[in-house]
């Protein structure tokens, strides 16, 4: 029922937009995961943070691709600084896996997917150029892991400050917090 379909709040810090490229922070497992399309996706060992299902080529549990924190941490990471409509702070630094990387990894074949949060919020992604815009699944904010109380553990985040054209109500609504499931169609 809850939905962040809010128009972009005006207060955005435009200066000091630093895109933090942390892509080198990945281990050997991540390489095999990211680079080898034929490799089998290992099953999760810890608590599952994210489930991807639907039109995907690679799965690890039944017809779903499930990820625990360790698996996500082995993937190439990226980040940026931005203000958000849900905080009065001038800006926060968000880090995580780029959404396009994750979709490539699971071999997603659809162009639409539904993102569902732990609070049962659900919305369908359509027409967002994920190749162009580094939209991420943020798992840290200002270097601290996101918790449920701080709208985590995973949160779809747009680089609003770097791309002011992203500031609109539609993208606000797509910024799903407490993300649990993505269903590709």
């Amino acid at each position: 029922m809850d939905s962040p379909f809010l128009p972009g709040r005006v207060r955005r810090r435009i200066a000091q937009r630093i895109v933090l490229l942390l892509a080198l922070l990945h281990g050997p497992g991540a390489e095999s995961l990211a680079d080898d399309a034929t490799a089998v996706l290992p099953p999760p060992e810890g608590p599952v943070l994210l489930v991807i299902r639907g039109a995907i080529a690679r799965t690890n549990v039944d017809d779903e691709a499930r990820f625990d924190r360790a698996m996500l941490h082995r993937l190439p990471r990226t980040g940026f600084e931005t203000a958000t409509p849900w905080s009065t702070a001038p800006s926060h630094t968000f880090e995580g896996v780029r959404l396009s990387v994750l979709l490539d990894l699971v071999g997603a074949s659809g162009t639409r997917f539904e993102a569902i949060g732990a609070d049962d919020y659900a919305i369908t992604f359509e027409g967002v150029d994920l190749e162009r815009y580094p939209v991420i699944l943020a798992d840290t904010q200002d270097g601290m892991p996101l918790t449920l109380r701080r709208l985590g553990p995973l949160r779809i985040m747009f680089p609003f400050d770097d791309y002011p054209e992203l500031l609109n109500q539609g993208n606000d609504a797509l910024s799903v917090w407490q993300l649990e499931v993505m269903e590709i169609r």
Partner: protein, 595 residues
């Protein structure tokens, strides 16, 4: 006036339209901001409280069978926590949330704080706690639902209000917008018309300017005509002047050789005619000199009575001839001005007055001006000057179309000379005239010092030239005109001068060498043969005798350029025809200085 009113209307309408736009925009913002965030917040919390209560119930059921059933409600508690804590951005003061929503937020936060210890992993929970928590959560959820309804109604009413307001604003906007448009169009029309009128005026002024330019050109052409005429007269008068000069000199010389009374009488007439001719040529010369601007003003204090008496003496015969009364009133006043030039002015005015008066009288008088100075008046009872000719009479060669047909026609230079001399002497000249009744010229001059006049008079004893003799003064006369040369020679010899006459510088030098003589004085004509000048001749002689011999130049030139040139040579300058007295005066002057 209409333009001003329309402009004011346009400005007022513009202001109103701007005001309306601001109002409409504000309303739009209110509509945009109101409710959306708050409603979203309400919705989220309603769902989260519900789900939390449900999770508690589920766990209570589940643990009856399995004491280690997972405590999922803790996750739901965190979700309630996360959404409720977004109040800062969702219910900011600028969004004007309902007080109920604020109260709910506070109660929700109190609920979370109170129950947080029960969410610890090892917290002991009995059924009572669980039921109480679930009930409280559901109560809060119900309140949220009520708030949602209130919000919905409130926003609905607000929406209606805003809609009505927008309606009014839109109507007003249309009204004032239309008025503004009309005012603008009217203004445009009026301004266009004004512009057209202004353009027409500009065109008209251009035409007038062109006409003026043409008129000016014509006038300038006329000016050129006048100058040509001037040049012609200057040339002619030079040619006339030479024989006249000779004639004057010869007549004076002749006086000593006439024995019979008849001869004397004829000589007298001849002299008078020569004088008259001199006078006419003098006028022309005056104009030439004024044109050349070589006239030097020499101011002095002079007694008007003397001048008046002289004029009386000169013009009484003419007045008698014409059977006119010539009234000269003596005043005992003195004026400060150039005696010679002022004499010319008065002479011209009197001569004119006599010429243009058929019957009656000519009056010459002087009195103190009401605002200082001396007012000299020359008045007649003549035909008068018509208003439209008042300016023209001062032009050169102008002669009134006169039925009187003055017998001694002048050249029409008189008043022009008067006008120009008066300006030169800073004399205020005013004319009052009425046709058929007469003309009155008034001259305002600065008053002179009578004391100075008296003193000078006592110093200068009779300056008659009859007794003037220059004993043995050696005078070199250079003139290429034989008659003048001989005339001058005889005149000077009568006065006991020793004269050497030469027709050129060369002849003069030859004579000096032959007779081994150094002249005391040189009198040279300005224009000599072969483009030589008297100045050149004087310098040549001076070089030969190696002495700075006093010298004077006599010239018959009347052309402004020539006069200026002769004047520039720096020698004492006499204009032909030279009256013998003038010549003697100059000779005496120079000889004194020489010795």
């Amino acid at each position: 006036m209409f333009i001003a009113l329309t402009s004011v209307a346009a400005v007022v309408c513009s202001a109103v339209v701007v005001y309306l736009m601001v109002q409409i925009n504000r309303t739009r913002l209110v509509l945009q901001a109101d409710g959306v965030y708050e409603f979203n917040y309400i919705q989220q919390n309603d769902h989260n409280f519900d789900e939390f209560a449900l999770a508690l119930d589920e766990w209570r059921e589940a643990r009856r069978d399995d004491p280690d059933a997972p405590r999922d409600f803790r996750q739901r508690f965190d979700i309630v926590w996360s959404a409720l804590s977004l109040s800062e951005t969702q219910l900011g003061p600028s969004l004007r949330p309902l007080p109920e929503t604020r109260a709910l937020q506070a109660d929700g936060e109190a609920f979370l704080a109170k129950n947080e210890p029960l969410m610890e992993p090892d917290a002991e929970l009995d059924d009572e706690d669980l039921k109480r928590m679930a009930d409280e959560a559901r109560t809060l959820s119900r309140r949220v639902y009520q708030i949602g309804l209130t919000l919905y109604l409130r926003k609905g009413i607000l929406r209606d209000d805003v809609a009505a307001r927008m309606d009014r604003l839109t109507r007003a906007f249309w009204f004032f917008g239309t008025t503004l448009l009309l005012a603008g169009l009217t203004l445009y029309g009026l301004l266009t018309r004004a512009y057209r009128r202004a353009s027409a005026l500009v065109d008209q002024s251009n035409v007038t300017q062109a006409q003026l330019a043409t008129a000016l050109e014509e006038l300038t052409d006329g000016d050129i005509e006048r100058r040509k005429q001037n040049r012609f007269i200057a040339t002619a008068s030079h040619d006339l002047r030479q024989p006249l000069h000779a004639l004057g000199l010869n007549l004076v010389t002749l006086r000593g050789h006439v024995d019979t009374p008849l001869g004397e009488s004829i000589l007298e007439n001849a002299s008078r005619s020569t004088e008259s001719l001199n006078h006419l040529l003098g006028s022309v010369l005056d104009v030439s000199r004024l044109d050349a601007e070589v006239i030097e003003v020499k101011r002095a204090d002079l007694a008007l009575d003397e001048m008046f008496e002289q004029l009386h003496h000169t013009w009484q015969p003419e007045a008698n001839d014409r059977k006119l009364a010539f009234d000269v009133h003596l005043s005992g006043l003195a004026v400060n001005t150039d005696p010679v030039l002022f004499g010319r002015i008065l002479g011209n005015l009197v001569s004119n007055a006599l010429r243009y008066t058929e019957a009656g009288s000519v009056l010459l008088e002087a009195e103190r001006g009401t605002r200082g100075g001396v007012l000299v008046t020359v008045a007649d009872t003549g035909q008068g000057i018509p208003e439209r000719e008042r300016e023209a009479v001062f032009a050169e060669y102008y002669q009134m179309d006169t039925t009187v047909g003055a017998r001694t026609q002048g050249l029409g230079l008189g008043l022009s000379i008067v006008h120009r001399l008066a300006r030169l002497l800073d004399i205020q000249l005013e004319v009052q005239s009425s046709v058929g009744r007469g003309t009155r010229f008034e001259l305002l001059l600065p008053e002179g010092d009578m004391g100075v006049v008296e003193r000078r008079r006592s110093c200068a004893n009779s300056s008659a030239f009859d007794g003037v003799h220059f004993d043995g003064l050696k005078v070199l006369v250079i003139d290429d005109d034989r008659d003048i040369r001989d005339g001058t020679l005889r005149l000077l010899e009568q006065r006991a001068c020793r004269v050497i006459a030469a027709d050129s510088a060369d002849e003069a030098l030859a004579a000096i060498v032959d007779e081994e003589l150094v002249p005391d004085l040189i009198v040279a004509d300005y224009r000599l043969r072969d483009d030589r000048t008297g100045a050149d001749a004087i310098r040549a002689v001076r070089e030969e005798v190696n002495e700075n011999v006093p010298a004077m130049i006599v010239t018959g030139d009347t052309s402004p350029a020539r006069l200026r040139e002769a004047s520039a040579s720096g020698f004492r300058l006499l204009n032909k025809p030279v009256v013998p007295e003038e010549l003697f005066d100059a000779i005496g002057d120079l000889a004194d200085r020489g010795t």
